[in-house]
Amino acid sequence: MSDQTPDPARVTALIADARAGKAEALDALLPIVYAELRRVAGAYVRRERPGQTLQATGLVHEAYLRLMRDRNVQWQNKAHFCAIAANAMRQILVERARARNAIKRGGAWARMTLNEGTAAAPEAAVDVEVLDQALARLAERDPDQARLVELRYFGGLTIEETADVLGVSPATVKRSWMVARAWLKKELGGA
């Protein structure tokens, strides 16, 4: 319930207890899991544009439910959980993008509006569906870099947090991130 970052060792212990079937551990884990997801959406909330908080709340909630559903993918520790949360967020956003794109491609009847998403900054023009496919190709040549992008972009982790989760130095993360980002930018024609 508090906003302080939970001790990873404690989280890992709780996860172990939850896996052992202890209901209290799962209950104790709940706010931590949610806080984690909330942190993922943190940048979003900080923007505080009208109407967005609800959208983000829905997103976090959906991610949470997805995690609960996939509980048989058992969390090993906090780092593993971060990775799973980032992946859940990726799936949700990609599904939404796919649904949206499907409608956009929907044929002659479609009347496009120019004012949709007016609040979005120019940098927002990333087609998550296309990015997802590019990320899959990146994973073929370098799985670690693809994971890194997932953590950074879909999981919202900072360089330092990503380094922590992947167990490497921040400098390494930074170097890999630069390459992966440049490559994706090239693939998406953003260069």
Partner: protein
């Protein structure tokens, strides 16, 4: 490109960036003989150096651009026999439209329930659920007419209802007991009818319950939550006819939060939350309204805390937050039990318990049968007799205070010494000004926002006590001071002080009690 090549590209990329741009081409040619690697390195450096904050902000920051499909895309389109006219609501999962059934000429509500690419299993479940929901014939449940398929997309066609959701009604403050009981019975019966057919709603909340313009209570979206949800979990944010953006987790039962199997008792919990909220105007676990309008970052922060509280904490006692009789408080508490075993078994059992509660005798809206909730419910300004007495009481005291002010002010001209005169006048002025305004405020609240009265009265209580004491004090002191010079006036003042003391100590608590406790309870039934 092989992994080895890629590793080489990575190394050269960083080396190249460290060099001045002018030297890079010649350096690269010397560094590698593989043209594929050279090309890749060049392209990556170019991409890196092109301006832009590509991927620097996390994806969720732009979620709104990836959310629900934009409305105008479907308007004017014809799906089956339904012509889509306009959008009437939207949420995280899609949009609800008003459509016209071209064959029958009636208005229907149309919701896109697929998520772009529902798989075969998902679709079969959707069909099954829609069929089950369509089989529900109950006046308290919005009727499902059809499930239309159009390519990859599915559309659920339901009864088009005009009215207000309970979320909107909650904006007017909590319901008085009589209305609360009727609404509670109507919801529980509707939910119970679905339970009897083996259907669990899974996503009951104020946005999903509507009061139609005719006054009927209708539960919306039966079968939808489950149909659009993976089998193992409970709820996915759904859309409602009123268009509230959903995703507020405040109505999930503990077992739902834990990802455990659901049954009718899950709905009972959700109805319990709803009833608590309707009675008190506040959410039992501190969730903000799902359709609060303006964004508050706090709502986001609260969501996880709300889930944690649902699992672990008992809500603050309802008796301190509402004017419900103890028996009704007990029913809500049982519906909100953490352990499903301790709750009512289903909606019908909850409805039975609610019906067994005493009906407030003189509320106009409770005569007649509440069963279907079809009766229009009286406006909040229709007060019971007891309430009228309480209002009269407040108004009389306000008038009394004001009237006393004039003679007291004039007669105290003779009071000596001067500072005592000044003190008396100030004290009296304070009691009258504060006492009258607080009472008029309470009177206004009782008349137009009766649901907020309990809270307002708690806030006003110290003021009333203070003004009563200072009023009585000022009159009594002046009576003593004036005793020698104006014996008659002094005794009148003394009399008024005594009268007001009696009124504040005995009459006012009595009218307060009569107003607060439903008559059945007051009679000790």
């Amino acid at each position: 490109m092989t992994r080895e090549q890629w590793a080489r590209v990575n190394a050269l990329f960083h080396d190249g960036l460290a060099r001045p741009p002018a030297e890079r081409a010649s350096w690269l040619a010397a560094a590698t003989s593989d043209p594929a690697i050279a090309r890749e390195v060049q392209a990556l450096i170019a991409a890196h150096e092109s301006d832009g904050a590509f991927l620097e902000s996390p994806a969720v920051a732009f979620a709104e651009t990836t959310a629900a499909p934009s409305a105008p895309l479907l308007i004017g389109r014809i799906i089956g026999p339904y012509e889509i006219e306009r959008e009437i609501g939207r949420g995280g999962m899609g949009v609800v439209y008003l459509a016209r059934d071209t064959r029958l000429g009636r208005a229907v509500a149309l919701k896109a329930v697929s998520r772009g690419g529902t798989d075969a299993i998902g679709r079969a479940r959707l069909q099954r659920e829609a069929r089950a929901a369509a089989s529900l014939a109950h006046p308290g449940i919005a009727t499902v007419y059809a499930l239309e398929e159009d390519g990859d997309d599915c559309y659920l066609i339901t009864e088009y209802l005009q009215g207000r959701t309970l979320r909107e009604e909650l904006g007017d403050g909590p319901l008085p007991y009589g209305r609360w009981r009727l609404v509670a019975i109507a919801i529980a019966e509707a939910v119970g009818a679905a339970h009897a057919q083996g259907l669990v709603h899974r996503d009951l909340k104020p946005e999903n319950v509507m009061r139609t313009e005719g006054g009927a209570i209708k539960v919306l979206d039966f079968g939808l939550a489950r149909a659009t949800t993976p089998p193992a979990t409970g709820i996915v944010p759904t859309i409602t006819q009123a268009g509230a953006l959903v995703g507020t987790p405040g109505y999930m039962a503990p077992e739902q939060i834990r990802g455990q199997p659901l049954d009718p008792r899950t709905d009972v919990f959700a109805v319990g939350v709803l009833l608590y909220e309707l009675a008190s105007g506040v959410h039992p676990f501190g969730a903000g309204p799902g359709s609060g309008g303006a964004a508050d970052a706090g709502g986001m922060v609260a969501a996880g805390d709300v889930l944690a509280r649902i699992v672990a904490e008992d809500p603050p006692p309802l008796e301190t937050r509402s004017m419900l009789p103890p028996a009704a408080v007990a029913v809500v508490a049982r519906a909100l039990a953490k352990n499903p075993e301790a709750r009512f078994a289903d909606g019908r059992e909850l409805a039975d318990a609610l019906r067994a509660l005493p009906a407030p005798a003189q509320t106009p809206s409770t005569s007649g049968t509440p069963a279907s909730g079809e009766r229009p419910i009286a406006g909040s300004h229709d007060l019971r007799v007891q309430e009228r007495w309480w209002v009269v009481h407040q108004a009389s005291i306000a008038a009394f205070f004001t009237l006393v002010l004039v003679p007291a002010w004039l007669l105290w001209r003779d009071v000596e010494p001067k500072y005592l005169r000044l003190a008396l006048r100030l004290v009296l002025l304070f009691s009258v000004a504060a006492g009258v305004s607080v009472r008029l405020h309470l009177w206004f609240v009782a008349r137009y926002r009766v649901g907020a009265l309990a809270r307002e009265r708690r806030v006003a209580w110290p003021w009333l006590v203070a003004t009563n004491i200072s009023f009585i004090g000022a009159l009594a002191v002046s009576a003593f001071v004036l005793l020698d010079t104006h014996a008659a006036t002094a005794s009148v003042f003394f009399g008024l002080a005594v009268v007001h003391a009696v009124v504040s100590l005995m009459v006012e608590p009595a009218t307060n009690r009569a107003f607060t406790v439903p008559p059945d309870d007051a009679d000790g039934v």
